[in-house]
């Protein structure tokens, strides 16, 4: 009898422990998925800055088969020509069985310069997502030929910035039906201009960006004929006081026009308010999103926009250095933001970390947007000088309690979050179409990671793919408002965010326990509003502008 009682106690204890442990776990399955990419950063004693800043990774469905594929951007080497030549970007096709196939060879995507990041959109609305790759040196625009190959059309398109470019994003700034392109530019580093920086008078280290001059970002307007025009000055975004690393499009003031937020490294961030007709006004300072809460300009690497409190306005998150905190700005409406970094719990959680890629995502499908962040120091030999930090750092998963407070649950979220890496890029997609968001991570000088989400789909969700007809073909910039369980959720179709990253264009909604979405409004960039009713949960739905739902498929839960 006593023994039976003991067994019951043990089982009960285990059950309680299981409940207390986070139900969602992430596991790195890159190896078993056959993603064998290791980023080449060409680390050298000369400490060339790009060696520590690169490591982009993006998600795109390049073959339109409904399963997200992966494009990993390689770096290169300034001291070893062989390494430089071998540092190819890699395109991986999703085989839909948990593995990926390396399709680089047939892609036609070559090596040029020292790669940084990329973004993807169907810039010519031909039905196939194209690719823009940023570099230290000439960027490249690759046109998707629709047969697994790409063609370098940079010169023809007129979109090959020669500056050190970092993140890029596509967005339709004039709602004219084709996507335009914003490319951040970092600093005027070059091999011949490489500065000599040391820490504590002894060891050479990667330089602080303030020993270089900032470079102006570039805004390319899509001319609709396969070419782009640099309209940076005419648009009012030309600035020489920024050191752009992260960018995201988002309509923060709900006026139907895509605005642009740029994270600048160690200088005030930019918020370009879209005034219409392709013109912008920089308003970050007065909006309250330029600097930290005490007026101090912070590092500014990765960024994302999302509605964290369900009030219908996009909030902004930016990653910074350790001892600065990453910043969370809540949108108050009327063009103003409040810095809620500390009161939200984000401040304390992020203080010890140097953050790069960051995303708003509902990882546990409980309806509110959480935060995923990858971290890693800039100085690879930092342990020689500081005893309270390390080059490789763990990732953060900040769970939103729905009331504006965030708590780091990474330590309880599986082995994928426990490992320390020199993290840089972070993108999200439901790679296995099972109803929860998986994560793709680029690490500088290290293998990429693919973190599979297990358990997130215990709650319900919907994946929405938008297809524009009057609007740009991907529906980039479309605002989706879903009502479920009596609440309204807001998500935008984004092509580029975080740091050197782009997530799946399909929009993911966690629905919690709601078995259906009562309604979904799609506000197309072209101006139309489409309203759909009664959408059953746990589907992948394609909505075509003007035609409603044109495809459905169940999620593989």
């Amino acid at each position: 009898m006593r023994r039976f009682g003991v067994i019951i106690l043990a089982v009960t204890t285990l059950a309680i422990a299981a409940q207390q442990e986070a139900p969602v776990r992430f596991t790195n399955i890159a190896a078993q998925a056959r993603i064998d990419f290791k980023h080449e950063n060409g680390a050298s004693p000369q400490k060339y800055m790009p060696e520590t800043m690169s490591g982009g990774s993006i998600i795109l469905d390049y073959n339109n088969d409904g399963s997200p594929d992966i494009f990993l951007i390689n770096g290169g080497s300034y001291t070893d020509k062989q390494k430089a030549a071998a540092a190819r970007h890699r395109l991986y096709r999703n085989n839909k069985d948990g593995t990926f196939a390396d399709m680089t060879a047939m892609s036609g995507i070559g090596v040029s310069g020292y790669g940084m990041g990329a973004c993807s959109a169907d810039y010519d609305n031909d039905g196939w997502p194209d690719l823009y790759v940023t570099s230290v040196g000439p960027n490249k625009l690759y046109h998707n030929n629709g047969n697994g190959s790409f063609t370098d059309v940079t010169d023809k398109a007129g979109a090959g910035s020669q500056l050190w470019s970092a993140s890029c994003a596509f967005g339709d700034i004039e709602n004219d039906g084709d996507v335009d392109l914003y490319v951040t530019s970092y600093v005027d580093f070059s091999v011949t201009n490489n500065k000599y920086c040391v820490y504590s008078g002894e060891k050479r280290v990667y330089c602080h960006p303030n020993v270089y001059n900032g470079q102006p970002d570039v805004l390319y307007r899509n001319n609709g004929d396969g070419t782009f025009t640099d309209i940076s000055k005419a648009a009012g975004i030309y600035r020489t006081d920024g050191k752009g690393l992260g960018v995201v499009f988002g309509d923060y003031d709900n006026d139907g026009l895509a605005d642009i937020y740029v994270a600048n490294d160690s200088t005030p961030n930019f918020l370009f308010h879209n005034k219409g007709k392709g013109t912008f006004e920089e308003v970050a300072l007065t909006a309250g999103v330029a600097v930290g809460n005490d007026g101090q300009p912070l590092a500014g690497m990765g960024t994302d926009m999302g509605d964290i409190d369900g009030d219908g306005f996009l909030d902004i998150f930016v990653t910074n250095l350790d001892r600065q905190t990453h910043s969370l700005y809540r949108n108050l409406g009327k063009g103003l933001f409040a810095d809620i970094t500390f009161e939200s719990g984000v401040g304390e959680a992020t203080l010890p970390f140097v953050g790069f890629g960051a995303l708003f995502l509902d990882y546990d499908n409980d309806t509110d947007l959480d935060l995923g962040i990858v971290n890693g120091d800039v100085i690879d030999n930092v342990a020689l000088f500081r005893d309270s930090t390390s080059y490789e750092q763990r990732k953060l998963l900040l769970q939103n309690d729905g009331k504006g407070k965030f708590r780091d649950v990474a330590p309880a979220s599986g082995p994928g979050f426990a490992v320390k890496k020199a993290g840089r890029s972070l993108s999200a997609a439901d790679f296995d179409n099972d109803g929860d968001l998986d994560l793709l991570i680029g690490n500088v000088g290290q293998p990429a990671e693919l973190l599979r989400n297990d358990g997130g789909n215990a709650a319900n969700s919907l994946l929405i793919r938008t297809v524009g007809t009057k609007s740009n073909r991907d529906g980039i910039g479309a605002r989706l408002k879903m009502t479920a369980g009596g609440r309204i959720f807001l998500r935008d179709v984004k092509a580029g965010s975080s740091y050197l990253s782009q997530s799946d264009l399909r929009v993911h909604f966690g629905l919690g326990s709601a078995a259906r979405a009562e309604s979904l409004e799609v506000h197309w960039p072209g101006g139309g509003i489409e309203k759909l009713q009664d959408l059953e949960a746990n589907q992948i739905i394609t909505i075509t502008e003007g035609r409603g739902v044109t495809a459905r498929a169940p999620l593989r839960r």
Partner: protein, 543 residues
Amino acid sequence: MITVQTERAATDLRARILAGESFDALAREHSKDASASDRGFMGTFAPSDLRQELRSALSGLAPRQISPVLRMGSEFFLVQVVDPGEVSWIAENAAAMASLQKGRHAEAVQSFSKAVQLAEKFGANDDRLGESLNGLAEAYRLQDNFAGVASVSRRMLSIRWSASSNMGDAAVADLVDRFADVLSLAYFRGGPLDQALKRYQDALIKTPANEALYLAMSSLLVKAELTAEADDVMRRAVTAFPASRRVRYKEAEMYRDSGKMQKALETFQAASQMKAPPSMPADLDRLQLSFIYQRMGGINTDLVQFDAAIAAYKKAVEISPDNADARVALGDVYLRRGQQVEALAEYTRVLQAHPDRALPHYRFADANLQMGRFSEAAASAERALKIDPKERKARYVRGMALLRMGRAEEGRKELEEYRNQEAAAQTELNDRRAVLVSNRGASVLVLEGKNEEAVAAFRKSLASHPGASSLRLNLGLALSMAGRNREAITTLQAMIDGGISDDFVVFRCLAREYAAIKDDPTSQKYSALYLSKIDEALEQELR
């Protein structure tokens, strides 16, 4: 004799003298009598020359013994019999001073030299010896006898910075010289610096120094980014003075400044358990202890150990309730925790005690801004700015508060002003960084043997940063290393003549360059100047 107005003052002074303080120094500082400037020396008298009260007070007193407090009329006195040996010194020193004032420099040198001989009997560390040595140095200087000045200065340096076991040892001055050489070559690690370091380390091993010298050297090495060397000197200080709380405190600060936070925390913790020297006044002891806990609070905040930070700051203000900085920092930690009400309470307490300080007004404003109390935030930020218009963070807070209050025009204007101030500060910071980086880059060229390129690189950087003394110094050194001594002299001389720098390192380097071209008199002149400058610089580090 010391003359004061109240019995309380006389009693206090007597207690201090009995505790070991100098009668002469206290006489100079506190006595109302005309003899104060002469250290209270009245002269020599026969007993019959004195008033009865004085005769009684002096009766039975041994030389240097102090009398009880004596009242004559409405004043109070302390008297001390001067040692016969001291009488001679006093007379000789006074005569030397008089010669100096009358411009009779040769006589002054003679008299001061005799005074030095007499004062040597008081001990190597006695301030009377120091006074005569100072006078002698000045007399030599007025004669342009820089060899003499240098010799005396080296002696004073040795006395001031030596340990009790080797008081006045000339090797201490040599140690200081080698230290100066290391600092001058800070950018040339891997070449000339390594040789200078070897010589310096040899001297450190052989020559004990006092606590103050170790601490001053360590501090200057940290500033020169010679962190490992600073650490080594500090190790020696800890070994030589294991019970010194000041040494541990400075050790902890060194770790903190070089990024070793955990070590800094451990060391501050150790310091907090150590006792102050018996002669330290109780209130100073409390203040020091409060600072230690304040520093621990700061490090714990950096390490995101907020509970420990709060505990440390609370201890700091418990020990010294007047420690305003610790209380503001405590408020800041509360704010980081989202405990806005507690933060406000701390800032309010500081403001009640220090309404004239900008920082607490600014922090109070920031807390109110975060709490959505925009009117209070704007008002408090405005008060901060009235006290310090350069407090740009307060300007930012005020601007944001005004915007949130709907006063858009004013808010924008304030933010525009903030933007300009921030840009100016950033430009200054960037310039400093650029100088640092240029120095490093050009110095590496020297180490690679590319002297011409190095000189060109230094000159190019100087064109953009003409006031950067470190660039100019390193250019001078690069020219010297290339054997271009006259050009080195021109470069270094321009620093002094142009008011760009009066750093002891520049004088030291100039002395060496003039010696290299066999201009000994000028070399000696700069040598003498270097010695007085380095003495000041070491002293400055301890403040």
